[in-house]
C-alpha cells in the first residue's frame, strides 16, 4: 500500500476535470433535448439523449441570450461547448455555448417559432388590421437613409403624387442594433403624432408608416423577424405597411403589419395614390354629373312639350273659344233684347205722344177750334181788343189776319 497514491475527493475530481477538459475542450454533440428547465437566473439546464445514453448540459444566460430560437424538449439539436465536471456533485456535464437545430437553420426555426407564438397571441389577426388612408397627408418611412428602398419609394412617390408630405426616420436596417432602432422609430412616429396633437402647430401627424428595406440575405433581413419589431408594429396606432426585401421574402413584420407589400416600390404604389388617376376619376364624375343633369333637363323639356300639346293644356284655349262664342251669343241676345226693348219703348212713346197730341192746343185746332193772338199774345177776352187792332187767328191749316171793326161786349161777362 506504500506505493499506492491516495487521492482526496477534491484531488481526484480536479484531475478528472483536467482530463475531461483537455479531451473535450470544444466538441459538438448531437442529441435530443429533454428535461429542459430555465432557472430564475436565466440559466438553462437540460439533457441531451439518444437511444442509449444521456448527457447533462447547462447553458448559462450569457450564452443562451445569443440563441435566435428557443430550445424545446424533443428538439433535435447540435450543441457545442466543453465538457467538464461540476465538482460539488461529482457530475460531468456539457457546458453548452451554442445550440443549433439539427437539419435546418436556426434562423428559419426561430422564424417559425416566433411566428407561431405571435399568431397564437392574435397579433396577426385580420380583425386587428387597420385600413390604410385613401389619400394620406403625411407618410412616415422607417428605413435606412442610404438604402435602395428609400430611393425606390421616393421615385414612385414623386411620380404618382408629389404633393404628399414625407418624413423619414433613418435607422440601421441590418446588424444587431437594427431591431431596436426600427422598433424605436415606429414608436417614434406614434409619439410624434401625440406631440403634434399637444403642440397644435403646423405639424401634420403621419397617417401611415412604411417599414422597409431592400433585398438581402436572411441574416440581413433578420431585424424584421425580431419580436421587438413585430410588437412595435402591432402596437402602432398608425397603420403600418411592411415591405422587406424581395417578393419571395416573408418576414415577421410582414405578418404583424396592416399591409404587406412585396417590395419597397410596391409599398409606395399602395400608399401614394396617383394624382393622375384621381383627377381622371374626378373628371369622369364631373362629366357624368353634367350629362346626367343635361339629360334630366332635356327629359323634362320633352315632358313639358308633351304636356303642351296634350288636351289638358289645350283645354284652356277651347274654354276661351267657347267663352268667345258665348260672348257672341250673349251679344246677339243683348242686341235682340235691345231691339225689342227699343220697339217697346217706341210703342210706348207713340202712345204717350198720342196723349200729348190730345192735350196739345194744336190738336184742338184739328177739332175746329182756333186761337187768336193780338199784340203777340193769345187773346182771351173781347176787351183785349180795340177797334182797329190787328188780330191773327191760327187755324189748323193756316193763319188769318184781320182788322177789328166792332167790339160787342156781353154785360154779364164783363162784370165778372
Amino acid at each position: 500500500m506504500n506505493d499506492t497514491r491516495i487521492y482526496t475527493v477534491t484531488d481526484v475530481t480536479r484531475d478528472i476535470r483536467v482530463i475531461l477538459e483537455e479531451t473535450f475542450s470544444d466538441v459538438w454533440v448531437e442529441g435530443e433535448i429533454t428535461n429542459l428547465t430555465v432557472s430564475s437566473a436565466g440559466h438553462m439546464y437540460f439533457s441531451l439523449k439518444d437511444k442509449n445514453s444521456l448527457l447533462n448540459c447547462v447553458m448559462f444566460r450569457s450564452d443562451g441570450a445569443r440563441n435566435v430560437f428557443n430550445p424545446e424538449d424533443g428538439m433535435a439539436v447540435l450543441c457545442s461547448g466543453r465538457i467538464s465536471v461540476y465538482d460539488k456533485r461529482g457530475q460531468y456535464q456539457l457546458y453548452a455555448q451554442k445550440i443549433e437545430p439539427k437539419g435546418r437553420g436556426s434562423l428559419s426555426l426561430a422564424f417559425e417559432q416566433l411566428k407561431e407564438k405571435l399568431r397564437k397571441e392574435g397579433l396577426f389577426d385580420d380583425a386587428r388590421k387597420k385600413t390604410l388612408p385613401f389619400l394620406p397627408r403625411h407618410v412616415g418611412i422607417v428605413t435606412s437613409s442610404s438604402g435602395a428602398a428609400i430611393r425606390d419609394i421616393l421615385k414612385v412617390a414623386r411620380r404618382r403624387n408629389p404633393n404628399i408630405e414625407i418624413s423619414i426616420s433613418s435607422v440601421r436596417v441590418q446588424g444587431s442594433e437594427a431591431k431596436d432602432e426600427i422598433a424605436r422609430a415606429i414608436g417614434g412616429f406614434n409619439e410624434y403624432n401625440e406631440w403634434t396633437r399637444v403642440i397644435r402647430g403646423e405639424y401634420e401627424p403621419v397617417d401611415v408608416i412604411i417599414v422597409t428595406r431592400g433585398g438581402g440575405s436572411l441574416e440581413d433581413l433578420w431585424p424584421f423577424n425580431e419580436e421587438i419589431v413585430a410588437r412595435a408594429i402591432s402596437a402602432s396606432s398608425v397603420p403600418v405597411v411592411s415591405a422587406v426585401g424581395h417578393e419571395i421574402d416573408y418576414t415577421i413584420s410582414d405578418f404583424a403589419a396592416d399591409f404587406r407589400a412585396p417590395t419597397p416600390s410596391a409599398a409606395a404604389e399602395e400608399v401614394f395614390p396617383s394624382v393622375r388617376d384621381l383627377l381622371l376619376r374626378l373628371k369622369q364624375s364631373e362629366e357624368r354629373l353634367f350629362l346626367a343633369a343635361k339629360n334630366k333637363i332635356r327629359s323634362l323639356e320633352k315632358s313639358v312639350h308633351a304636356l303642351e300639346t296634350s288636351y289638358v293644356l289645350r283645354a284652356p284655349i277651347n274654354v276661351l273659344l267657347r267663352m268667345e262664342q258665348e260672348i257672341d251669343d250673349l251679344n246677339k241676345r243683348a242686341e235682340t233684347c235691345l231691339t225689342h226693348l227699343l220697339k217697346i219703348k217706341e210703342g210706348k212713346l207713340a202712345a204717350v205722344s198720342g196723349k200729348l197730341d190730345a192735350l196739345s192746343p194744336l190738336s184742338v185746332l184739328d177739332r175746329g177750334y182756333s186761337i187768336t193772338f193780338t199784340g203777340g199774345k193769345v187773346a182771351r177776352n173781347a176787351k183785349d181788343f180795340q177797334k182797329g187792332d190787328l188780330a191773327r187767328t191760327k187755324f189748323a191749316d193756316g193763319i188769318v189776319e184781320s182788322k177789328v171793326e166792332r167790339i160787342e161786349r156781353l154785360k154779364n161777362l164783363a162784370g165778372g
Partner: protein, 74 residues
Amino acid sequence: MKNIDFEKALEKLEEIVAKLEKGDSSLDTSLKQYEEGIGLVRECREKLGKAKSKIEELIKNDDGSFRKEPFSEK
C-alpha cells in the same frame, strides 16, 4: 366641410352621380344634386393640390420634442 376626408368626398360624389343618373328625382332635387356634385369635384381637386410637398427627416430631440431636417438622398 374643410376637413372632409378625400375618400368620403369622392364616395359621396360618385353616389350623387349614380343618383342623378337614375334621373328619378325632381328637377329641384336634381339641380341641388348637380350643384353638390360640382362642389365636391372642386373640393377634391383642391385637396389633391393643396397638400405640402416636403421630404424631410424626422428627428426626436432629447426633451421629447421633434424637429425636421431637409432630407438628402445619400
